[in-house]
Symmetry: C2
Subunit: 387 residues, 2 copies
Amino acid sequence: MTVTADVAIVGGGVIGTAIAWRAAAAGLDVVLVDPQRDDGASLVAAGMLAPVSESIFGEEALLRLNLLAARRFPTFAAELEEHTGQHIGLRQEGTLAVAYDPGDHAALLRLTEFRRSVGLDAAELDSRAIRQLEPFLTPDVRGGALFAGDWSVDNRRYLAALRQAAQAAGVRTVPGQVTRVTSTGGQLTGAELADGTAISCGTVVVAAGWGSAGIAGLPGRLADVVRPVKGQLLRLRLPAAMPPVLSHSVRAVVRGTDVYLVPRADGELVVGATQEERGPDRTVTAGAVHDLLRDALSVLPVLSELVLAETCAGLRPGTLDNGPLAGPAGAGLLLATGHYRNGILLSAVTADAAVAWLAGQPPAAEWAPFTPDRFLAPGWPTEPRPA
Amino acid sequence: MTVTADVAIVGGGVIGTAIAWRAAAAGLDVVLVDPQRDDGASLVAAGMLAPVSESIFGEEALLRLNLLAARRFPTFAAELEEHTGQHIGLRQEGTLAVAYDPGDHAALLRLTEFRRSVGLDAAELDSRAIRQLEPFLTPDVRGGALFAGDWSVDNRRYLAALRQAAQAAGVRTVPGQVTRVTSTGGQLTGAELADGTAISCGTVVVAAGWGSAGIAGLPGRLADVVRPVKGQLLRLRLPAAMPPVLSHSVRAVVRGTDVYLVPRADGELVVGATQEERGPDRTVTAGAVHDLLRDALSVLPVLSELVLAETCAGLRPGTLDNGPLAGPAGAGLLLATGHYRNGILLSAVTADAAVAWLAGQPPAAEWAPFTPDRFLAPGWPTEPRPA
């Protein structure tokens, strides 16, 4: 069977689905190839929109892109909610960063100072002020900061709404796994699925997260550039009749380790996340669940009464410089992968940029440092490296 | 719809199903009413057969019953395996009790001394001998004991095999929930299900665990005598290519708290269990999972690498004296509930006793202290107390 389209998008996470929606809304005939797995990075994520608390020394270009993304997200979300009638749980209370012991506090103060030095909204708070904002946090918390510009969204509701919007805009979804892209004379012409389905199209958009590295026929070195970074998370729920225990997202440094707690209006509380370099391993381990619970309980003792509803593990698409890999990578090929820890945040501006690229127009200037040519020489077909 | 039978058994856990199998094998026409829930105490259990390490001061009658049960279990299991062709994972390596800190060690030594004083096989071991038996245990373990008479079985395989044997012996299973038993003139005549099905029979055997207390029409005070004692457990799995980390069941006392680790031949490792007086609450809580992992990791650090495959919670049927409630409780009524922490262990001898009672014969003498009349005045119908 052969499917034809203007654009074939590979990957049904928030990046691929957001691009599909916006490209179809811009008038293109779009096919979305979606493996429909329930442990994709978009579904495992916590949904933080955190340009400020993800910013670290030396990643100023990524910070500028993330800030663009945060400015864009609310209008994109509002349009999505209007198109679909769904609520996606955008919360703009800000994020509270807290430190557990004196060493944690010193480290957090240094980061807060850096964030202020680059113009970010980062208000230092003492222990008393923190507990006024979040009374259930332990009195042991040494101090912290409020990052008003860091928000969150319910990533699962968000992806579900994107899928609905894409379908309503005319996107055709093909369930399955792309195994290779096809080309003729230096021009990419389509893709092949594991079940034998062929797709014939003018442009292939590769937005398959870490899985992008396993697609044959792409420019060489992609498997050297995009790697899986395992993250384990917990989804907790308030038991019946318990009022919310947090109103802000909380990022805690506990004895040198980072843990975050992201509350939802529906009573869910997401606790994450590990950062593990273990290749494509997706198992939930006893040690990770213990450590996440231990650190979360250290700052929020009442968490012991919450229901542990789900443990999950996903693979973020990490890159050599922690920035995404987005833009044209040869005739008929657009890459949109490598979003690492910022995939939910970057999804809206990645869709904007992809629509621009598909129309032959330049995207926002913040994308310039993140084009594929910083790592990849153009030209194919080539085979990916064996894993 | 009305179903008729010689005997109607209420409850599809190991107690009810073992009775059903043996009663049908003895020639009775048996109906088994099974709510078929996946969180029944028989499925949540770890499968320990632990007369020795469950024995405590003051429960000598229960110890005698548990020892009878342990002697009986292997022949019962062998017959079950022969009838069904299933392996149920009986392991007879013995159980290693270990103590984490000096206070734990003192407590364990006192219990070991008691167990020896009543004639049980309880060999004290020092830290070095323990690690020769189980090299992955932490060198911090202070000492312990080997209880050669404490074994384990894969409780889920065991229940599955019992169901198969019962069916092969002619037991008819009716899915559903018994809401009341019915009687005429002081003689019990049957039962009614939530879906309206009526059962007409000569004897009703109530083996519904804690749920027995919610059945209307039973002798008064049952709801005062049988209560739910919540237990939370974890099921871990060895990751691919990891060899077994334990060969014995291990019961550890860690800073005053008991935790057990029960290995299976197929790579499963069960970690349990909490003892919570919370009424009929079956939620898995963050605090319990944390505490179980913390204590298990304290004695077996390599456990951090194991896959956390499942978290579960069940309700044991506890009684006022921790012993079962088994035997005739009026014309046409047999009780077989209240097995608390020893349901798997006691299932075989409960089936033996039930078959004897159904035939009007006396069971083993060890049952004498556990008849219903120690708590319940005969006579019905009465209503259970509101929960």
